[in-house]
Symmetry: C2
Subunit: 146 residues, 2 copies
Amino acid sequence: MSRELIDRFNQHVSQLRNLRQTAQRDLIARTFFENTGHMSVEELHQKVRQKDPKIGFATVYRAMRLIADAGLAIPRSFGDGLTRYEAAGAKRHHDHLICKGCGRITEFVNDPIEELQTQVATKHGYKILDHKLELYGFCPDCQETQ
Amino acid sequence: MSRELIDRFNQHVSQLRNLRQTAQRDLIARTFFENTGHMSVEELHQKVRQKDPKIGFATVYRAMRLIADAGLAIPRSFGDGLTRYEAAGAKRHHDHLICKGCGRITEFVNDPIEELQTQVATKHGYKILDHKLELYGFCPDCQETQ
DNA sequence: ATACCTGCAAATGTTTTGCAATGAT
DNA sequence: ATCATTGCAAAACATTTGCAGGTAT
């Protein structure tokens, strides 16, 4: 599964004449897709550095923008000031439950909600490109300690 | 309507022994509640400066945090890097349609969606505190020019 | 040789904080 | 007098950009 996305990224890069496939980009993409999503750039940078300590964060930022431009990752910002990227493309659309206690992020899919969203947009004459639904609260584990 | 929120804010401030009501806070709260929501701190700062040019942005940031702590404003971040505040309290919960063309923000309320969200959270064992639903697309006006 | 990439450092943009001066109680 | 508040500047924070050196074509 992660292999497919890495291949798609490499394919995307090689199709553009002014882009090159490099060891750094490959490593970053590989690390990103091999880990389950919602990684901040800093987290990804640290993971990447375990394999190649010389890679700077600017390179990670640039690579993630490339991957996002290729449509293979989606930038998201949950409450904290960080941008987190989420793998896209293979997985279908989903929304998020975010725990305010431990920060755990759970994904869910709910078709009736999607359907109602489309209805709302149509009613207001909007043409929807994208949407974002986030539920904030306490997960089962954190409810005990609260 | 905005009067009620200003009063509630003043009441909140006066109840805490270590907080004082000041002309700056009053002006900032007044300006914020008198304008329709979704203002960034910088926008608010500019509006406030029209009435009192000496007010610095740190004061506006601090005042908005106070107002938010009082539960009378909610910080939101739509795609751009800015935090926007939205008046809360008097108005009931609502969600947002955001135009990617002109940036216009339309509010809407949809009870069935709220209901489904609660169901999803319950199914995952989460206790929901808050949620955020944003639909991004083109508003009627911007569809013509696209 | 050309042109893209990298890594570093510096710049950017937003938000926070330290501090001396001010103002209220 | 005390103590919160202000405004300014500096700091902190995530992210972007400029640039010299390196590397692939």
